[in-house]
């Protein structure tokens, strides 16, 4: 088991960051009338961990006995039948799914599948009616239609079902949904908190950490706890005993983007653009999301640029990412950004150096 899973705290009392939120969540579920919850915050900040611990708090250890299923639903949509496939993770009292996985048909998941799940009400051994919990991941990726469909379901079946929604970017969740939930913001842990977790894991694994080693990993983690723990484990695999100057390996794809940035700075020509296109494809094929590529590329370029160009370049990054969202082929927009950059930079060079 990877350390990220092995050292994921199981209960609200065991968490090492967000302790205050964990204690608050505990209070929240003492009563039966807990509202719907929306967890939001950057990836790797600890949302999933808190949600899992919360389920355990509500339902006891049965919440951990989950089964993973690939299920197919047949949905009659007027004249045609649609088949939807989704992976669900469920225990007796809860079901977890990512409705956005089915793409543009996500509203059927909300209208048919989720509504069905929300309707039926679990009854406990003593015959009391309880409620079940539906965990929906990546709600920020749901289409508007699907989000609208969710609104009334959240009200209508609130006696039998609580929703726990999880997302990175709460700006993309409609106001209608946000106002029907208690919003729980999970911020990225600070570097000090990350160090604390790394040292804890180090101790459990019986490792000697040179001074400042954990701090260096934390610094490179971009405040993502997941990322910090993953690179800590990679370091362990690469070299142990640790040395104080041991390199913290960057992610492969990041190195690759960094090379692309250097390429662009070195030469601005159609030929180069063509080569870079191939490299961008390579990244996309390896399932690096295009907006992540664009942001990383911007990050690398900003490091190398004069103050006056930074404004312009970051504007175009925002511009092309937006276009990418509206369009369908990410590669076009990534390439357009690179081309735009080349032309700006070339003009700048000519103006400055003649």
């Amino acid at each position: 088991m990877l350390w990220v899973d092995k050292y994921r705290p199981k209960t609200l009392d065991q968490v090492m960051v967000h302790e205050d939120i964990a204690q608050n969540l505990k209070k929240l579920v003492t009563e039966q009338d807990c509202p719907h919850l929306l967890f939001y915050g950057p990836s790797g900040s600890g949302k999933k961990t808190l949600i899992m611990a919360l389920l355990r708090q509500i339902f006891g250890s049965s919440a951990e006995k989950v089964k993973v299923e690939n299920r197919t639903w047949k949905i009659y949509a007027g004249s045609r039948t649609i088949e939807l496939e989704l992976t669900t993770l469920s225990s007796t009292n809860h079901i977890e799914l990512s409705p956005s996985d089915v793409g543009f048909q996500d509203r059927y998941v909300v209208q048919e599948i989720i509504k069905d799940m929300a309707k039926s009400r679990p009854i406990d051994i003593k015959g009391r009616k309880g409620y079940k919990v539906l965990v929906l991941n990546e709600v920020d990726k749901l289409s508007r239609e699907a989000q609208y469909s969710l609104r009334r379901t959240m009200e209508k079946y609130s006696a039998s079902c609580r929703l726990i929604l999880c997302c990175n970017s709460s700006s993309k969740v409609t106001e209608a949904i946000r106002s029907r939930c208690l919003n729980v913001r999970i911020n990225s842990p600070s570097e000090e908190q990350i160090v604390k977790v790394l040292e804890f894991i180090g101790k459990k694994e019986g490792l000697q950490l040179p001074p400042g080693f954990a701090a260096r990993i934390a610094e490179k983690s971009n405040r993502s706890l997941r990322r910090a723990i993953l690179s800590f484990e990679t370091c362990r695999v690469q070299q142990y005993p640790f040395t104080s100057n041991q390199a913290i390996p960057p992610m492969d794809w990041e190195e690759y983007v960094s090379e692309i940035a250097s390429d662009i700075m070195r030469e601005q020509s159609p030929k180069k653009l063509f080569q870079i296109r191939g490299k961008l494809y390579e990244l996309l094929i390896n399932c690096i999301p295009p907006e992540i590529i664009l942001k990383r590329l911007l990050y690398e370029l900003l490091k190398k640029l004069d103050e006056e160009l930074k404004h312009e370049v970051s504007h175009w990054a925002a511009y092309y990412e937006h276009r990418m969202r509206l369009g369908q082929k990410a590669i076009f927009h990534l390439e357009a950004f690179v081309a735009k950059f080349m032309s700006i930079y070339k003009a700048f060079l000519i103006e400055t150096f003649g």
Partner: protein, 342 residues
């Protein structure tokens, strides 16, 4: 709506008025519907207005008061955006429901039980135009025995032929006073104490949306105990603490791009919604005395553009960085030599 379950429902449901007369602030519609209860006359209705102002509440209340619990199921059809409301469903489901004749002489005891059925189309603005068109004919063919209630946020999304057949009622955002009264009522029932400052904070952050106000109140009560302070409410509402907004604004003023970038990164890492940051940044800019109108205009233009992009699903970091960069250029009177039109 079964009463036995109420205690386990979130407060928004628990405190949903069950009778038309308890709907606050929407006097006109309450007057018309009170009349309906006496005379049983009811036109088709169109309720429109912002969220959390009582549209669904009012429609459900009148339906319950007209038919009572026994007949409710056979006389009232509630369809909302969580139901598939494509053309076919409109054609079949609504027709099937409308077509079954109302048996006369059916009595619901103390309830008026007028001789028609009610079809509530909640969130009607998310129906396609085609589906709305399909409804026209249904509405006409069954006009004697059905009454339609259309509920929506935006009246402009309801096609004219439907809208023109209805009595239209605009649901106004609730006034601060009304919100406060409802909230105090709930506090009373739940044994909470809320001081004057907290109460005014709550009505200002909920902006006339009572659903939001109640959700925040319950969140704060569960998280921070039965004495609720203004800051507890702010923390559950997602309002960004002013120091973050000020830090970003100061960074823009400094003219140092890297500093602004750092602040933007910080906002993202803290998980604050960028859409909310834009709102609060707007307030700071508009109120600043040392910023010229022209500078303000430049900044607001950029805020508006970013807001639109976010609605389209654009990346939060890139949009905020762009706003910060534009704000900096405006505040520091940097010329925009390059044109942003592509």
């Amino acid at each position: 709506m079964a009463p036995e379950l109420q205690s386990s429902q979130p407060w928004v449901e628990k405190y949903r008025p069950k009778q038309v007369k308890d709907v606050a602030h929407q006097d006109e519609v309450v007057r018309v519907l009170t009349n309906t209860l006496e005379t049983s006359n009811c036109p088709h209705m169109l309720f429109y207005g912002p969220p959390g102002t009582g549209k669904t509440t009012t429609a459900l209340a009148i339906a319950h008061q007209l038919f009572g619990p026994e007949l409710y199921k056979s006389r009232v059809l509630e369809l909302n955006a969580s139901d598939d409301r494509g053309i076919n469903v409109v054609r079949t489901k609504i027709k099937d429901f409308a077509a079954v004749a109302v048996r006369s002489g059916q009595h619901g005891g103390a309830y008026p039980c007028p001789p028609y059925k009610i079809i509530i189309l909640d969130e009607a603005d998310s129906m396609t135009e085609d589906a709305q068109n399909a409804l026209r004919r249904t509405m006409e063919s069954y006009s004697k025995i059905t009454r339609f209630f259309f509920l929506c946020n935006y009246i402009s999304r309801i096609i004219e032929p439907l809208a023109s057949r209805c009595a239209k009622f605009r649901f106004k955002p609730l006034s601060g006073e009304i919100v406060s009264n409802r909230i105090l009522h709930i506090c009373n029932e739940e044994g909470l104490s809320l001081d004057a400052e907290a109460l005014s904070t709550l009505s200002s952050i909920s902006q006339g949306d009572l659903r939001r106000a109640i959700t925040y109140l319950q969140g704060a009560a569960r998280l921070f105990g039965s004495t609720i302070l203004s800051k507890d409410l702010l923390s559950v509402s997602g309002v960004i603490p002013q120091e973050f907004v000020d830090a970003l604004y100061a960074a823009c003023k400094s003219g140092d791009f890297d500093l602004a970038n750092k602040e933007v990164n910080n906002v993202i890492a803290e998980g604050y919604p960028v859409s909310q940051m834009l709102v609060q940044l707007f307030d700071v800019v508009v109120e600043a005395d040392d910023v010229s109108d022209e500078q303000k205009a430049r900044i607001c233009k950029s805020l508006a553009a970013a807001d639109k992009c976010l609605v389209d699903g654009a990346d939060e970091y890139l949009q905020l960085l762009d706003v910060a960069s534009n704000t900096m250029q405006a505040l520091c009177n940097m010329p925009q030599e390059f044109s942003y039109e592509s």
